[in-house]
Symmetry: C2
Amino acid sequence: MNARRRSADRTETIMQTALDLAREVGYAKLSMEAVATRAGVGKDTIYRRWPSKALLFLDAVLSSRITGLEHPDTGDIVADLREVMIRAVDLLAQPPWGPLYQELIGEAQHNPEVAAALNERFIQPQTADTLARLKTAEEQGQLAPEFDLDLAFEVLSGPLYFRLLITHQPMTPDYIDRLLQAVFAGMGPQPQS
Amino acid sequence: MNARRRSADRTETIMQTALDLAREVGYAKLSMEAVATRAGVGKDTIYRRWPSKALLFLDAVLSSRITGLEHPDTGDIVADLREVMIRAVDLLAQPPWGPLYQELIGEAQHNPEVAAALNERFIQPQTADTLARLKTAEEQGQLAPEFDLDLAFEVLSGPLYFRLLITHQPMTPDYIDRLLQAVFAGMGPQPQS
């Protein structure tokens, strides 16, 4: 196989090894040395591509299995948002994804490079995909015309992150249904028209 | 002054020193050794009360200035929620509170003891206070009778934590107004009655 292919395989091996080791010893104890040894490459090979353990870990987590989070368009906005929220929490419930994503966000709290990469590579695309789906729904009259669409992703995702990072309460399908119900219906009394 | 008073003063000094050092060098570089030296106490004195740096830091942050977050009752639920949300983001905007709280939550991602203490000492009381204020508002017909009150704290706080921990977008009074508006009005079209 050609050089590019070999390089891609090596990159894949290094990232998979980083995930395996993080799963075994936790992110805190993960070392570039150990990744290099188990992956059978030189440390230089790793550092050439990833200047820090944090960026290797971020790349490994984001490159791994975070797919299928694009919104379908069945014509029913609540069903489509629900579908992606369910997929996201299912992914977080599969070991080791939840704890690894928590570690990644933990690292982002004191590593601006990781925080920036997380936003650019994952949060912003997710936000854009959600907004695009909501715009279609708005055109179809499925949203309150005056609703602040730019807040929608935060209002829908914020409570999930709050459970993942703070309270660790379970994110069940029932919880997602309650959340969607609350956010769509609103807290306030409905205006009498 | 008596022994209890001296002990309370020493506790105060140690926690203040931990905060000062965390502010200067960041949580990651904070060491019990340095806290003991600057506070002028033995390491044993610190370890007797706080078995780990994480728990000393948590205690110092939570004991420090997190007050004034109880909800007033002016009879206007939106105004009262707004008041506490504004106070919370103002506190986070005062150096060093935002970064220190972020570090604390970062630590909670891989330290279950810190996560549990954060929830028991701060999140759960805040949730209970919010719920109590919302129950009064519900009795006064200021909330949709069918609204899922147990979700309210997560729906209102989740987006703030999402900005603090993930996107780092500013939490301005205008943002809080937009958030309250969105959460009270709801995303969905109002039912025609």
